[in-house]
């Protein structure tokens, strides 16, 4: 339970989709996440993938995992997924 409390949903933004035809965003997102959390199972961690118009994903991360991801070359920015309101 404490582990879950430590985590929050972050948006991991990776900019434009690479033009390479063999690029598979989902598998890239998965491998990045696996590398950071140090586990092969990303169940309950990967919230969503952005893969059609731009590149990135949303994941449940701890603060230290966020920092590691933010320093990765392929990652442009990592920021908390805030709640917004209907106006």
């Amino acid at each position: 339970a404490k582990d879950d409390q430590d985590k929050q949903v972050y948006i991991v933004y990776m900019g434009a989709l690479p033009a390479r035809v063999d690029y598979m965003p989902m598998s890239h997102h998965t491998s990045l996440l696996q590398e950071v959390i140090g586990e092969s199972s990303i169940e309950n961690r990967l919230v969503r993938s952005y893969k059609r118009s731009f590149n990135g994903f949303a994941a449940r991360l701890t603060e230290s995992e966020r920092e590691i991801l933010a320093n990765m070359e392929d990652v442009v920015s990592v920021f908390p997924s805030k709640k917004l309101k209907l106006q």
């Binding site: 969503r48 059609r52 949303a58």
Partner: protein, 625 residues
């Protein structure tokens, strides 16, 4: 919408010039709380199959069907026990905004007889694709869900995106999902319309601040709902949408402050939850100092409630008879009650009045200046946002504690003004299908009706309240000249803001680097249809704006510059632009000078380029914070 489109001059059916075949190929992406697919506003009677360019899907979930009008649906809300996972609208908001932008024309709709007319969208023949990111009972709409909605909407090939969602204040681009999503949309030729926010009339409250987003403020138009309160000794007028008819019967008045046995006077006078005593309010009209909790009075058996609000310039629906009064009117009722032995009053059913001063900016509409990019004017434009009657979801109550179910209801907010401009942008695109997002935005801004801040007693914010003015759909078709800004212009703009390397990639998505020239470029020189500069409050200033216009009027034309207003000294060089062909571009510089405007003051004027047929108007705003 039973009145708003007429108010703006976009008449119903054949009374407005339209391009039906192109309109039918237009797809509006609505990022919101879902949609009520069974609404008559989204019936596909008369519609052919979806446009060939459509690449989306109908993944509305349980008991949700699309049709040839509502061609796509996706949902990004978290799974809850309360509602089945679906694109169905459990809040009413998404149904309302979608129908305002592109709903069918549906005759004889009203809210219990109030506001009767034809409800319709700006482009009734257009298609709708829904991206649900907000769910009832779930507090807010998540940033990660909103970014997913952009990811899909852009790839699905929508023509424009309307999103009436935001935060309380502006956020840096790099942590704003709407700014990131809208940048990618703009790069693909898709214009994003976003509501300015409802945190007015305080300054610096506009939450949508990126120049690649078209930010919409809200106006009150010429139809106002009023709920009369008849006192024993006379009459006053209040605001609300009261569909309940008490037949003019007068009931005893009681003040919330004296109708409690459990709360202190300060809590009770607001009718705060748990304060009112049913024995003291039953069968009476309860006066509450706030319009937040009149349903507390209802729950305790009150017949009606009279409340006050500092924002009494628009009407709200309540679950029983309520009239919301201005401070002065409310005090009149209070002093009547305190000076009379057996005070009584009647709260009448609402009626409508014609407001000659319209349009005026709504009190709640968020104001500039732009807290993140001081030299970009936000909001950009104003459209009707108050008391808008449009399609609603019967699955959502029309107000708090309400047990009624309606298919059309009234809502107020910049959420409502945003889809009006989305409808206008789509309408404009049917005449100019190849125009870029910036051309559409420019055409709407430079043809806007001038607005006068002084018409509203609680607004002295001028362009920070209404931007370029009030949207004028018909004039926008023929702007004459447009200010264009494409992806590379926006990248140069970001370079000028010191976005480099990784940070620049953050916004643009591309691995680009800034040239020396780009790094030196000033944000105020982005080719934007408005011109804004933040200067020192006390020192004399002289600032220049460089702009380029594209001729989209007549091939052979000559435009002369005119600066309207005397508050700023302005010089335009060259003062005459001669065009030999369509799409020809000409550049000019506007230099404004004067003494410091004073702290938290703005001075403004307008640049108008005119060829005798077209009038291309841009606000010039200089301010000090």
């Amino acid at each position: 919408t039973t009145m708003s489109w007429d108010f703006m001059g976009l008449k119903e059916g054949k009374r407005a010039k339209r391009n039906p075949s192109i309109e039918s190929n237009t797809i509006i992406g609505v990022i919101d709380s879902g949609i009520y697919p069974e609404s008559e506003s989204f019936s596909d009677k008369g519609f052919g199959p979806p446009p060939k360019k459509w690449k989306g899907v109908c993944e509305g979930g349980t008991n949700f069907s699309c049709n040839n009008k509502l061609i796509g649906a996706r949902s990004y809300t978290p799974k809850t026990n309360e509602f089945p996972h679906s694109a169905r609208d459990n809040m009413g908001h998404g149904t309302h905004t979608a129908s305002t932008a592109a709903g069918n024309a549906v005759k004889d709709v009203s809210f219990y007889g109030l506001g009767n007319g034809t409800a319709r969208g700006g482009v009734p023949a257009a298609r709708i694709a829904v991206y649900k990111v907000c769910e009832a009972g779930f507090e807010g709409c998540t940033g990660d869900g909103i970014l997913s909605a952009y990811d899909d909407a852009i790839a699905d090939n929508v023509d424009l995106i309307t999103i009436s969602i935001g935060g309380d204040t502006g956020q840096p681009f790099e942590v704003d999902p709407t700014a990131i999503g809208a940048f990618h949309a703009m790069a693909k030729g898709i214009l994003t319309l976003n509501s300015a926010g409802n945190s007015g009339p305080e300054s610096s409250t506009v939450s949508s601040i990126a120049p690649w987003i078209f930010t919409v403020a809200a106006s009150n138009t010429n139809r106002g709902f009023v709920t009369k309160v008849v006192l024993g000794d006379g009459k006053t007028v209040g605001r609300s949408v009261n569909s309940f008819d008490l037949k003019g019967t007068k009931y005893p008045l009681v003040y919330g402050e004296s109708a409690t046995r459990s709360c202190d006077a300060d809590s009770a006078r607001f009718c705060s939850p748990g304060c009112l005593d049913s024995k003291l309010v039953k069968g009476k009209i309860v006066l509450c100092d706030s319009a937040e909790h009149p349903d507390e009075a209802q729950a305790m058996g009150a017949i009606a409630s009279i409340t006050k609000s500092s924002k009494a310039d628009f009407a709200t629906i309540f679950s029983f008879s309520v009239s919301v009064l201005s401070e002065d009117d409310y005090n009149t009722v209070l002093s009547y009650m305190n000076s009379t032995k057996n005070p009584k009053a009647a709260v009448l059913k609402s009626g409508t009045t014609f407001k000659q001063t319209a349009p005026v900016i709504a009190s709640y509409s968020s104001r500039g200046p732009n807290t993140i990019i001081p030299d970009i004017l936000k909001p950009d434009i104003t459209a009707p946002g108050s008391e808008i009657l449009a399609a609603y979801s019967p699955d959502a109550p029309p107000s708090k504690s309400d047990t009624r179910h309606v298919k059309y209801s009234l809502l107020t907010g910049t959420s409502m003004s945003c889809p009006h401009v989305a409808g206008v942008a789509a309408y404009l695109k049917t005449f100019h299908p190849r125009w870029s997002p910036s051309m559409i935005q420019s055409a709407i801004m430079t043809t806007a009706w001038p607005m006068n801040a002084s018409a509203s007693p609680i607004n002295e914010m001028d362009e920070f309240a209404y931007g370029a003015g009030h949207v004028d759909p018909i004039s926008a078709i023929h702007p004459g000249l447009v200010y264009e800004a494409n992806k590379s212009d926006h990248i140069a703009f970001l370079c000028g803001l010191n976005y480099t390397g990784k940070n620049l990639k953050l916004i643009s998505g591309d691995s680009v680097s800034c040239t020396k020239e780009q790094t030196k470029s000033l944000p105020r020189n982005l080719n934007y249809p408005s011109m804004t500069a933040q200067v020192s409050a006390t020192k004399p200033f002289k600032v220049a704006f460089r702009r380029t216009v594209t001729n989209v009027g007549m091939s052979n034309s000559t435009y002369k510059a005119k600066v309207v207003g005397t508050k700023l000294k302005a010089k335009v060089v060259p003062g005459v632009l001669s065009f030999k062909s369509l799409h020809e571009k000409k550049s000019f510089t506007v230099t404004v000078s004067g003494k410091g405007p004073g702290a938290e003051k703005l001075v403004s004027t307008h640049l108008i380029w005119s060829d005798g047929f077209h009038s291309v108007r841009s606000p010039i705003v200089v301010y000090a914070s």
